[in-house]
């Protein structure tokens, strides 16, 4: 593909006017520079600005680093004494965001996975990290080559979408958006899914999604495709299993969550001090979406499509690699309205639910949906 034709396709992607075949062509040909260009244009920022806002806050980076350091010491202790000789034991490399590395307060997904005796987890995850950061830093590449893990787990996309009020850019406040109808690719994501589906909520939410959301969703698939293609077609990691996850229907909220259960003391604490309300509620308010039902339906539509995009990505790579290699943990509907610590993060018991689905997948327990594990 020439640079000019690629640029034309990128323009069409950004306008959410790219045809399915054009998107498939672009997907096969996109490189890191193209991806960087796309995100700059989605958010109207230059490269330096994108890197700046995608960078972790120093304190956050330190706290995440400390937790990873503890996890990775545990990993090194586990893999001694012939750990890898036993076929039931699995070495897992993890890259992701705060669902995989929540600072101190909560036991996140990876904490629960790491407690399994037969699973040794090496973590690169950082709360607040962008998929773009993970792709460009390539820390996962080095560790994949070093440890040749049995499983590579990745959780990313949430922070690219929220934070710094970026969600506001994904909204069409008129409530008359037809961008879903104009996207053949997005419509192709709607399959007979095993996930519980509320068409009224989904359709209501779709009315408020701007072209930038669909451009970002396609951009996510391009990034994941780029990462997985690099791993699965390199010839170096035969048999590796990749597992993704797509979050659950997060709850825009500013309530502090005080209640009679003393053991849930961390809920109001996290809400008061760790950004609750700023990720979803505030950007929606900024664009004039203040009705609670509409706010929830907007997030419903976004998360529904994000998960379907991840599932489609897994199916693509089943055809490319020739075996079931990219699996998806589907947490949609698993957490419930009252199961959240804050806007974006489940309570520990619900992180454990998602963790259990990962554990089943890692251990090769077949799923009724083959590539999809329900939390």
């Amino acid at each position: 593909m020439t640079a000019l034709s690629k640029d034309r396709l990128i323009k069409k992607l950004l306008a959410n006017r790219i045809s399915l075949n054009q998107f498939i062509s672009l997907r096969k040909d996109v490189n890191e520079q193209d991806l960087s260009q796309i995100i700059q244009r989605i958010y109207d920022l230059n490269d330096e600005q994108v890197r700046k806002i995608a960078a972790l806050e120093p304190l956050m980076a330190k706290v995440d680093g400390l937790k990873n350091s503890q996890r990775n010491s545990k990993f090194l202790n586990k893999i001694k004494n012939g750990f890898r000789q036993k076929p039931q034991n699995k070495v897992v490399l993890v890259e992701g965001d705060s669902w995989f590395n929540y600072p101190v307060l909560l036991s996140d997904v990876i904490d629960w996975i790491g407690m399994e005796n037969n699973i040794a987890v090496y973590s690169l995850a950082s709360g607040g990290d962008w998929l773009l950061n993970m792709l460009s830093a390539k820390k996962y590449v080095e560790q994949l080559s070093t440890m040749h893990p049995d499983v590579f787990i990745i959780s990313a996309g949430g922070n690219d979408l929220v934070g710094n009020n970026r969600l506001a850019a994904m909204i069409d406040p008129s409530g008359k958006s037809e961008e879903f109808v104009k996207s053949a690719w997005a419509q192709g994501l709607m399959r007979v899914s095993n996930a519980p589906f509320e068409p009224h909520r989904f359709n209501n939410g779709l009315n408020y999604l701007s072209k930038d959301f669909f451009a970002l969703l396609m951009f996510f698939q391009l990034q994941y495709y780029y990462i997985f293609r690099g791993i699965l077609t390199s010839g170096k990691f035969s048999g590796i299993k990749i597992i993704t996850q797509g979050y659950d229907y997060a709850q825009p909220s500013r309530t502090l969550g005080f209640g009679p259960k003393l053991w849930r003391w961390y809920k109001p604490f996290a809400r008061m001090f760790l950004g609750h309300g700023t990720w979803l509620k505030t950007p929606l308010d900024i664009r004039g979406i203040s009705d609670v039902t509409i706010q929830r339906d907007v997030i419903y539509a976004m998360i529904y499509l994000f998960n379907e995009m991840m599932i489609e990505t897994g199916e693509l790579f089943q055809k490319i690699a020739g075996y079931d290699c990219v699996f998806h943990v589907d947490s949609r509907g698993a957490i419930g309205d009252d199961g959240w610590t804050d806007e974006l993060h489940p309570l520990p018991e619900n992180f454990k639910k998602t963790g259990k689905a990962f554990i089943d997948c890692i251990n090769g327990i077949p799923s009724p949906s083959r590539l999809v594990y329900k939390a």
């Binding site: 545990k74 909560l106 036991s107 629960w112 790491g114 407690m115 003391w265 961390y266 520990p348």
Partner: protein, 154 residues
Amino acid sequence: MSVQLQALKPSGYRICDLELAHTNKGIDILKKWQTSYSGDRTLLEISRNNTKWDFLFIAVYATLLIVMSNWQMQRENWLPLNEALRLNFLLAFIAGVFDIFENFGMLHNFHHTNDIANYWSTHWLAMIKFGLLALALLIFAISFLKSVVQRLNL
């Protein structure tokens, strides 16, 4: 600090006896310390000095308890105990706050040794503090022993 605390022993009272004392007993302890010496310092002066150092000790033990609970929490896969270890963060913090108020009370009392009307009993502050610390340590101990037993059974 422990050397200084040893100096209090001959008086028959330790610092925690004062912490847990009601008003009358507290006054008796302070009178005893005011008239008892270790070297050229009264036991009251030694206790006042120790109480000032205790503020640092509060920060140390509260932090240690939180760090230990966090470390164990990352190994505890039984949800109720996992949540209980998380509760330890709060218990350690509240115990530390009560201990700080207790120290302020004791420092005040050191200046009112014969003044029963202005004595602030730290009995309930100390009881709650020790109760919370005991609960937190019990939670940690149960989880830790459980993980040791599980490892031995593997």
